[in-house]
Every structure is written in structure tokens, then in C-alpha cells.
């Protein structure tokens, strides 16, 4: 397998709040181009803290995070647990936001915006307002916004946790199709073992109190992955392995 380009490196990163609450301890992670990494763990394991550290919203107490090559704000796309759309703006204006904040004019990137909407299956909703959309559709807009600039890395913080299971499965499939199509690199935070196995090629299992990485395991199933991967014996094997690691990690505190 060829060595893929390194994007980001976390070295022994720790974050302590209020001088005493250890949210994350000694996390190391190398992200390479094309990776789909899941951070899997219970509440309070520091997975969201890790994302906030990577997106530079907070700064590490110890260790360091380095981007390879030149790094600017356009390198990152973000999807939160809520769709986080601007209610006063149309779907197209919402997706246009990352461009707008980089000083682009709508006319110059209209094709990219439309293309991103087409890719998430909302091509005909460009002029709709967020309130007119269902929860799943709003999340699609949010995903379109995160990838419209083709960032080097997309961070997703439990994006489908608030959706019903049927919608979630559908969005899981669509997300993988998108990944195959534009070859994006993703760090995906989730507390669902099934979701992490189905989506990612690397699962970082984390534990709480203090938040830390306990295990990293690879899912060797090649992309593109079809729906029937969910029912295969390999899939069952991986979920067993990931659940085992998770229980082991939680057992220490339970």
C-alpha cells in the first residue's frame, strides 16, 4: 500500500479545564489523506474536546498539534451534532457561507455551491429556507457546507446522533458515497459502534475520566462499501472487537 500524504499529527495532546478537570490526556494520532477515522467512546471521553482542539477553538494544555504543509482556515470543514444552519438564509446561502467568509462572491462559486447541493441530493432545494426542511435534510445541507470548499479535513461531531435510525442509515450510506466520490478525509465522532464500523477504516476507541485513547483498530473492508456489509460476518466481527474494546475501557470505571 502506498504511503499517503500526512495531513495532521497530534502528539501526546492533553487538555485540562479549570486547572483540574482532565478532558483529554496523552492523545496521539496521525491523520493521512483519505482516512476515515472514527473517534468512538462514551460521553466525557474527550472526543469532542479532540475535535475542538483540532479546529483550534481551544488550545492544548500539553503536547502539540501540527498540520503538514501550509495550513489556512480553508483546510477545515465542520459538521456539528445539530445542523447549525442560519435560519435567515436560504439553503444555497448557507452552503455558500465558507466561501463568503473567505471573501468570495456568490456568482463566482455558484457552480460549486450547486454541485455540493446536488451531491447531497438537495439540488432542487437551493432557495428553500432551513425551516422548510426535515432534520435529515438539514443535516445534508450542513454536510454540503462542510465539503463545498473541498477542505483537506472534515470534522464531524456526532452528526447523526439526533436523527432516527432509518434516516441515519441512509445518511451513513450517502456519506460513504460522497467520500468515494470526492475522496475527502474525515474525523468522525460517534458513540455508536455500528456507525463507526460501517463508516471508517480506523476506529480510535476512547475512555472517560480522564479522556484518553485506549485502542486503535483498523477496519480492513475496502471502499466502496455496500449496504450488505452491514449484514456480513466481517462486520459482526469488527463490531464485536470494537464493543469489546469499549467495554474494557468502560469497565475500568464502572
Amino acid at each position: 500500500m502506498e504511503e499517503r500524504e500526512e495531513i495532521l499529527r497530534m502528539e501526546n495532546v492533553g487538555k485540562t479545564f479549570d486547572g483540574s478537570v482532565v478532558a483529554l490526556e496523552g492523545m496521539s494520532l496521525v491523520v493521512r489523506s483519505g482516512d476515515f477515522i472514527s473517534l468512538l467512546g462514551p460521553s466525557g471521553c474527550g472526543k469532542s474536546t479532540a475535535l475542538r482542539l483540532i479546529s483550534d477553538l481551544i488550545h492544548p494544555t500539553s503536547g502539540r498539534i501540527t498540520w503538514s504543509g501550509s495550513h489556512d482556515v480553508g483546510d477545515l470543514g465542520v459538521v456539528f451534532q445539530e445542523a447549525t444552519l442560519m435560519p435567515w438564509a436560504t439553503v444555497a446561502e448557507n452552503v455558500f457561507l465558507p466561501f463568503r467568509l473567505r471573501g468570495k462572491r456568490f456568482g463566482d462559486v455558484a457552480d460549486e455551491v450547486q454541485d455540493a447541493l446536488d451531491m447531497v441530493g438537495l439540488g432542487s432545494f437551493a432557495s428553500a429556507y432551513p425551516r422548510e426542511l426535515s432534520g435529515g435534510m438539514k443535516m445534508r445541507v450542513s454536510i454540503a457546507r462542510a465539503m463545498v470548499t473541498r477542505p483537506r479535513l472534515i470534522l464531524m461531531d456526532e452528526p447523526f446522533a439526533a436523527l432516527d435510525e432509518i434516516t441515519r442509515f441512509k445518511l451513513n450510506n450517502d456519506l460513504l458515497r460522497l467520500r468515494d466520490r470526492i475522496g475527502c478525509t474525515v474525523i468522525f465522532v460517534t458513540h455508536s459502534v455500528f456507525e463507526s464500523v460501517f463508516l471508517s477504516d480506523r476506529i480510535v476507541v476512547m475512555a472517560a475520566r480522564p479522556g484518553r485513547v485506549v485502542r486503535e483498530l483498523n477496519v480492513e473492508e475496502p471502499y466502496p462499501r455496500a449496504e450488505d456489509f452491514r449484514t456480513s460476518s466481517e462486520y459482526a466481527g469488527y463490531t464485536r472487537e470494537a464493543s469489546g474494546a469499549l467495554h474494557e475501557a468502560m469497565g475500568e470505571v464502572a
Binding site: 477553538l57 482556515v73 480553508g74 465542520v78 456539528f80 447549525t84 435567515w88 457561507l97 473567505r102 429556507y129
Partner: protein, 287 residues
């Protein structure tokens, strides 16, 4: 009770009792919203008229509604000029309140130092009754018009300031993070995140300020007193009081009340037009 179904709701034969009740209620809401207040007004006017006529109350104590209406028409020449003056002061004060309130609110959110330094004084200005400040203002401010404007502004600007400040600070925190991640400048954050978030709050404050500007303008004129041709409705009421011209006092009162209602309605409409596409307050509930 029977009624025709609206065109967009074809009778599929599956309208159950609940649905019928719901439609009936909706229809009652629609009609009652207008009909009941009008009915109430008519009843009040009728009762007022009867009381005056049956008890032979002299018009210099309580004029009937008919006489008030006649006076309104007869004195329209004087009253309309005064109405114009009052409306002018009110609208100018409202405009200055919006500029000052929004400007100060933006300044507050841009700099904590400014906010911490000035906010207490904005509150003091607000809680001090304008009647108490007005006499001083008219001592120090030569121009009567400017004095009136200043009084009306003091009363009107605070709701704009406090609501807009609240609105600017209540942008969704995830959106805030998103703007930071995308490296938004201070100006971009203000223009594309904070100002739109503040709009519903601002419009709420504006509706209150509209009424207060009118109150401020009227109260200030009562204090300012001195007449002349450029006098507003408050002075006309005062003047009519000295002349025991009670019908004219009522006519002036009616005009002030009507002005207040029109201002409120206009601002409500503005608010609806600006928010109807996206904000909860302007959306009709479905189902």
C-alpha cells in the same frame, strides 16, 4: 352549523369530528379577531352616548361621542397641524433612538470595556422619569424642538438598546464556533451572524420604542408648555383644558391614541415582513 370547505381542503369524506371542530375553531379565530373588538368599540360608544343623553350631562363635563367627532372635523384645521408636529417629533425621536440604540448596542458587543463603562448609565437614564428631567432640558436647550426630541429620545432609545444588545449576544454558539473556524473577521461576524440574529430582538424593541417615542413626545410637550403655531397635540389638549373646551380635549386624545395604534400596527407589519420567511414569531402554525 354548516360551512363550505376551503378550496384547498377537498372533502374526501374522511373529515372526522375532531377535524370539524378544528376547522370551526380556526374560522372562529379568523372572524372573531376582527369582529369582536369592533363590536366592543361600537357597544362602548353606544353606552357612552346613552349615558350622556339620558343623564343630561352637559358637554363641558362629558361630551358625547357624536360631539367629539364633530369637534374633530370642525377643528381639523388646528388639530391636523398639531398632529403633524407630534408625529414629526415622534418619528424623528424614533429614528434617533434606532440609530443611537443600535449603534450603542454594536459598540457594546464589540468592546466589553465600553459596555461595562456605559451600560449602568443607560439604565440610569432609562429609570429616571422623563417628566423629572424635562424641565432641566428645557432650561439648557434653547431650541424647543431639540428639547422635545431629546426627551422623546431618552424614553424611546432604551428598549432598542437593550433588545439589540441581547440579540447581538444571542447568536447560536455553534454558528459562532463555525465562524471562528472559518476565520471570519470581526466585521463578517457582525454582518453575517450577529446582526441577523439580533433582528427579531431589535424589531421587538422597536415596537415598544414606537409607543414610547409618542409618549415621550407628548409628555415633553406638556412640560415644555409654551404655545405658538408649531405646537403639538399635547399643547392643544392643555390649551383646550384652560378654555374648558372638553370636546376638543377628547378630540386631541383620540388623535394621539390613533397615532399610537397606527405606529404600532406599522411596526408590527414591518416586523412581519422582515421575519416572515424564517422566524418562529412570524410563522403560522401548521396542523
Amino acid at each position: 352549523m354548516s360551512f363550505a370547505l376551503p378550496a384547498e381542503m377537498p372533502d374526501t369524506g374522511k373529515v372526522d369530528a375532531d377535524e370539524l371542530k378544528r376547522r370551526q375553531r380556526a374560522r372562529f379565530e379568523r372572524v372573531g379577531k376582527w369582529l369582536l373588538p369592533i363590536l366592543m368599540l361600537a357597544l362602548t360608544l353606544y353606552a357612552w352616548d346613552r349615558i350622556v343623553v339620558l343623564n343630561d350631562i352637559p358637554h363641558y363635563i362629558l361630551p358625547g361621542p357624536g360631539l367629539v367627532w364633530e369637534t374633530l372635523i370642525k377643528d381639523w384645521g388646528t388639530l391636523s397641524g398639531s398632529l403633524l408636529v407630534t408625529v414629526q417629533i415622534t418619528l424623528m425621536a424614533l429614528a434617533v433612538a434606532v440609530i443611537g440604540g443600535v449603534g450603542l448596542a454594536i459598540l457594546f458587543t464589540q468592546s466589553r470595556i465600553v459596555e461595562m463603562s456605559f451600560f449602568p448609565y443607560a439604565v440610569i437614564l432609562q429609570v429616571t422619569p422623563v417628566v423629572a428631567i424635562a424641565p432641566l432640558i428645557f432650561i439648557y436647550v434653547e431650541n424647543r424642538m431639540v428639547g422635545l426630541l431629546l426627551c422623546a429620545w431618552i424614553v424611546a432609545f432604551f428598549p432598542v438598546l437593550s433588545n439589540t444588545t441581547l440579540g447581538l449576544n444571542s447568536a447560536d454558539h455553534n454558528l459562532r464556533d463555525l465562524f471562528r473556524i472559518y476565520g471570519a473577521t470581526r466585521w463578517q461576524r457582525l454582518r453575517h451572524l450577529q446582526l441577523p440574529s439580533a433582528l427579531p430582538y431589535f424589531l421587538g424593541g422597536l415596537r415598544i420604542a414606537g409607543g414610547l417615542a409618542l409618549i415621550g413626545a407628548v409628555v415633553a410637550e406638556f412640560v415644555a408648555g409654551t404655545g405658538g403655531r408649531a405646537s403639538g397635540l399635547a399643547f392643544r389638549i392643555q390649551e383646550a383644558g384652560y378654555q374648558l373646551n372638553i370636546p376638543r380635549m377628547f378630540a386631541g386624545l383620540v388623535l394621539i391614541a390613533a397615532t399610537g395604534v397606527v405606529i404600532y400596527a406599522a411596526l408590527s407589519f414591518l416586523s412581519y415582513m422582515l421575519l416572515r420567511k424564517w422566524h418562529e414569531s412570524a410563522l403560522k402554525r401548521e396542523g
